[in-house]
């Protein structure tokens, strides 16, 4: 019944839109240049933190390294470069959605994304959208979502970028990218190879990280072609192939190895007509892992999933102030693995987004989504958000949403234990933000509350076999401060970005803080530039966390970097950067008994031509 209702609502709206309103050039440009324009246009009441390519390129390659200093997200990393999972606003590893050019790429196998399988050099920007986003981004966007974006430039250009890096523990990085185009077409091709012996000292012991070697190769190709004023074709592709050994712990050695491969491709056709934007996307996602208990042997366990997604997006500008977007998405997920045979799952979703700029100062939006899946019933989810600009320097944002996370292939089909009776995890979230903008600084203060029920937990059943059940309930709430400041004194430029978060995330039954959720986390980045010289310092503080059977001490980490830019020839710019990571040589762990690296060095040379 519900399904019919929504589809007819969509159709009704399509049929009787009010003409007159025209897309302005900025809006049209957004739709062409950006892979996910709704992140910009349908999220007025959400806090979105954007990390630009200059910041990305200063950092080391992994998304974990980038975000641990640039966000409030806590990462649980099984040793440097190993499996890394997020805790965003006190939620668990599968409650943060990672979105690649508008498409949710969390694993269908375990619902998570390993942040050390993303090379951030492959992206033009990374956006962190705090707060529930299931309406727009689907399963798992409970604490928030992390967006990996490739932008297309439609102007005459041909830019090459070559980055070479060498550092401690025999770490090497070779990254090359070319971006070219003109007013009709744009193409971006790049590749990156990362390798490290990763044999750092376990400070305070006589051990080293013996089995932590990793290497990975990534490739991306993004292009767009403006066929006519009305038609644009776009293609996005990203591949990643990683080979890691899994580090041991302070208590136990390891000889295991792990390989992962992902391919993501999306073909997109945009059609513009008067006040209408229509987008049709075809997406293929492939994920595969192989786990070797003993890397010397050929025996491994594996899992893989192919996802095929068709997405249709219709955006109508009803009046100058109002806009409506309807999205229909159909997906097929086909799995294959040692532990669950060859299951497959189908899903269909219908979404409506509404946006209304009431006055210059006030905007609100309302979103609604319903899902139909072959194995279980997904809840109808919604979101409402608003932003009110009270004065030039002060605005308030508010959003509330209902969100969900679907059971994964592991949860449903694992043999033994998989439970086909599972329902999605359901969550309500509300977020109030205040933003102060004054000349050189920008301060955001947010408070949120997340209430999640029917959380999936694996428990032994009466016969002793572990099986997942919708049993857990968690409430998370907290406050976040985010300060951005920028000031120029003559040729001196100073940038500061500082963040602090206070997080309470409790199991409702026990009223105890969840494991690996610190009450306090703070970081700041300060950079200074003068002519050809640039310097930066990053600092992170993590409070104590509880772990199973105990506590893990808090820690601080600091990184210091200096860079020098030099024009080698009119067409060849170079930048040499030297970074000292963990400058205080602090022993620290973000997962118990899995030490992180001692003080280490990295030299990067970037050539642009």
């Amino acid at each position: 019944m519900k399904r019919r209702l929504y589809i007819s609502m969509l159709l009704a709206v399509c049929n009787f839109y009010i003409a007159n309103a025209q897309l302005d050039s900025i809006q049209k440009l957004d739709e062409i240049v950006l892979s996910d324009a709704k992140l910009k246009r349908f999220a007025s009441g959400f806090k979105i933190t954007t990390i630009t390519d200059s910041v990305i390129q200063k950092s080391s390659w992994s998304l974990t390294d980038l975000l641990r200093f640039q966000s409030n997200i806590y990462f649980k990393e099984n040793g440097y470069g190993m499996v890394s999972s997020p805790s965003f606003r006190g939620t668990n590893a599968s409650q943060t959605a990672v979105v690649w050019n508008g498409i949710n790429i969390n694993s269908q196998l375990n619902g998570q994304l390993d942040f050390n399988t993303i090379n951030s050099y492959n992206y033009d920007s990374v956006e962190i959208r705090s707060g529930g986003g299931s309406v727009q981004y689907g399963s798992g966007a409970i604490g928030g979502s992390v967006h990996l974006s490739n932008d297309l430039r439609f102007e005459k250009h041909a830019d090459h970028r070559l980055q070479l890096a060498y550092g401690s523990f025999d770490s090497k990085n070779l990254t090359y990218g070319v971006s070219a185009g003109n007013a009709r077409w744009s193409v971006d091709v790049g590749g990156s190879y990362i390798e490290s012996e990763n044999d750092y000292k376990f400070l305070g012991t006589d051990k080293i990280n013996e089995n932590g070697q990793f290497e990975n190769l990534s490739f991306n190709l993004n292009g767009g072609f403006i066929i006519s004023d009305n038609n644009v074709l776009k293609l996005y592709h990203q591949s990643f192939s990683g080979d890691r050994n899994f580090s041991g712990t302070l208590l136990a050695p390891s000889k295991s190895g792990y390989e992962d491969r992902t391919h993501r491709s999306m073909l997109e056709w945009n059609y513009f007509h008067d006040n209408i934007t229509s987008k049709f996307k075809l997406v293929h996602l492939f994920e595969e892992f192989k786990y070797f208990e003993n890397k010397q042997l050929d025996d491994f366990t594996f899992g893989r999933v192919n996802s095929f997604i068709g997405n249709y997006n219709l955006n109508i500008k009803l009046t100058e102030a109002t806009e409506l977007r309807g999205i229909v998405e159909a997906s097929i997920f086909k799995g294959d693995g040692d532990s669950f045979g060859m299951p497959s799952r189908e899903a269909l979703s219908a979404t409506i987004l509404w946006r209304h700029q009431v006055t210059d100062k006030w905007i609100y939006g309302f979103n609604l989504r319903t899902d139909y899946t072959s194995d279980f019933e997904s809840p109808v989810v919604f979101s409402a958000d608003t932003k009110y600009q009270l004065t030039d320097w002060y605005s308030i944002t508010l959003n509330g949403s209902r969100n969900f996370r679907v059971p994964t292939f592991n949860d449903l089909y694992w043999n033994p234990g998989g439970n086909l009776e599972l329902q999605p995890e359901r969550s309500y979230q509300v977020d109030l933000g205040q933003q102060f903008t004054y000349k050189f600084f920008d301060l955001k203060i947010n408070g949120y509350y997340i209430d999640t029920e029917d959380m999936i937990q694996w428990l032994p059943n009466a016969t002793g076999v572990f099986s997942p059940l919708n049993v857990d309930a968690v409430k998370s709430f907290g406050g976040e401060f985010e300060l951005l400041a920028k000031q120029t004194f003559g040729e001196h430029q100073v940038n500061l970005n500082a963040m602090y978060s206070y997080t309470i995330s409790e199991n409702k039954a026990t009223e105890e803080q969840l494991i690996y959720v610190p009450f306090h986390k703070a970081n700041f980045n300060v950079s200074y530039a003068f002519k050809k010289f640039e310097g930066f310092y990053q600092h992170s503080y993590y409070g104590e966390v509880s772990i199973i059977g105990g506590d893990l001490e808090g820690y601080t980490v600091g990184n210091l970097g200096v860079a020098y830019k030099y024009r080698l020839s009119p067409k060849l710019d170079s930048k040499l950067q030297f970074t000292i990571n963990n400058i205080y040589n602090n022993a620290y762990q973000n997962v118990a008994f899995r030490p992180m690296p001692n003080r280490n060095f990295l030299t990067q040379l970037t050539l642009k031509f």
Binding site: A252, P253, T301, P460, G549, A592
Partner: protein, 342 residues
């Protein structure tokens, strides 16, 4: 027993961080003696966790968790699987860390750490003045499983004896060690090792996945598997009788022998069978319990409840004359073995 958890953890690499929470341990001044009580080994979390040992005095007045770290100021390795006691010493088998911690059983002070020659060690027993430790090697290959022989004077592995796939519990009698092998429906053998020559003497086929071994009053060996109970003459190594369950039990485990009776745990219930009987018990002694392991001695049953395998487990003591619970204690994470320190 104790392997379902291992299996799940081994396989679900991505579930490492499934959410849960837990009590923080409180600092305790260690006792000076852990005699006249029971020692409980705790596996702790499989992935990156740490094992612990608790002490409960026989009069139930003293309880202390984390006794190894309280005394030695360091953490036990990952997955304290089992323990063997010999003379004044206790040998704690640390599965994932491939170690055996040797401690004085009364003071719990560390004496030695055996950390070479072990690969996925599981259980240990003593025979002929030597230690015998079952080792899985890597999980998948069927040809790297062995029993390590330990010289108890030097605390070193002195030889290895190849054995059937996935060796688990072992029991010694008359200079022979009987090794139950096979889990997850992947084996049905009991290996017989001669501890004078340290050779594998023979392999006896029993039921599927033999999980516990007991000796009765006559010195016969009883092997509990998922499908039957087999009685073996330990002089001739011949099977005396096989009692088929015929589907009466779903996951029978934890065979115990006390005062002429066997006790079996199955799916939340405890069953009792006379050693002279060959009829499967159908009426449980008591039910609605959740034991990860249990031990019976002198009319008392010590049951370990590992709860959700992430928060602290409990020890429940039952009086078997009245079949009532007489004591319950909160212990550490994943309690998995009860040992008597008299």
């Amino acid at each position: 027993m104790n392997i379902k958890n291992v299996f799940v953890s081994l396989s679900i690499v991505g579930l490492i961080f499934s959410c849960s929470d837990d009590d923080a341990p409180t600092a305790i001044v260690p006792s000076t003696s852990y005699e006249d009580g029971i020692l409980i080994t705790h596996e702790g979390q499989f992935s990156g966790g740490f094992g612990t040992v608790s002490y409960v005095s026989n009069d139930f007045t003293t309880v202390e968790n984390n006794i190894f770290s309280n005394v030695n100021n360091r953490t036990l390795g990952t997955v304290a699987q089992s323990m063997a006691i010999n003379g004044d010493l206790a040998y704690i088998v640390i599965n994932v860390s491939n170690q055996i911690e040797v401690v004085n059983k009364n003071t719990f002070e560390s004496v030695a750490t055996i950390n070479t020659g072990l690969s996925n060690p599981r259980f240990m027993t003593i025979s002929n003045g030597k230690g015998y430790v079952t080792n899985w090697g890597d999980f998948t290959p069927a040809d790297d499983d062995y029993v390590a022989v330990i010289d108890l004077a030097t605390n070193a592995v002195v030889s290895t004896i190849s054995c059937s796939y996935l060796p688990e519990e072992l029991i010694e009698i008359n200079n022979k060690v009987y090794v139950a092998t096979g889990v997850f429906d992947s084996g049905n053998k009991v290996d017989v090792i001669n501890t004078t020559t340290d050779t594998l003497e023979q392999t006896i086929t029993v039921g599927n996945s033999p999980n516990s071994l007991q000796l009765d009053s006559d010195g016969d060996l009883w092997v509990l598997s998922s499908e039957n109970l087999v009685e073996i003459d330990t002089t001739t190594d011949l099977i005396l009788q096989t009692i088929d369950f015929g589907g009466a039990f779903a996951f029978p485990s934890d065979l115990n022998f006390d005062n002429g009776s066997f006790y079996i745990y199955d799916s939340g219930s405890v069953f009792k069978m006379d050693e002279a009987s060959n009829i499967i018990p159908t009426t449980p002694e008591f039910t609605n319990v959740n034991f990860y392991d249990m031990r019976v001695r002198n009319g008392l049953l010590y049951g370990l409840d590992a709860r959700d395998f992430a928060s602290n487990g409990t020890l429940q003591v039952y009086d078997l004359t009245s079949n009532t619970e007489i004591q319950t204690f909160t212990l550490g994470v994943i309690p998995g073995g009860v040992y008597f320190n008299d």
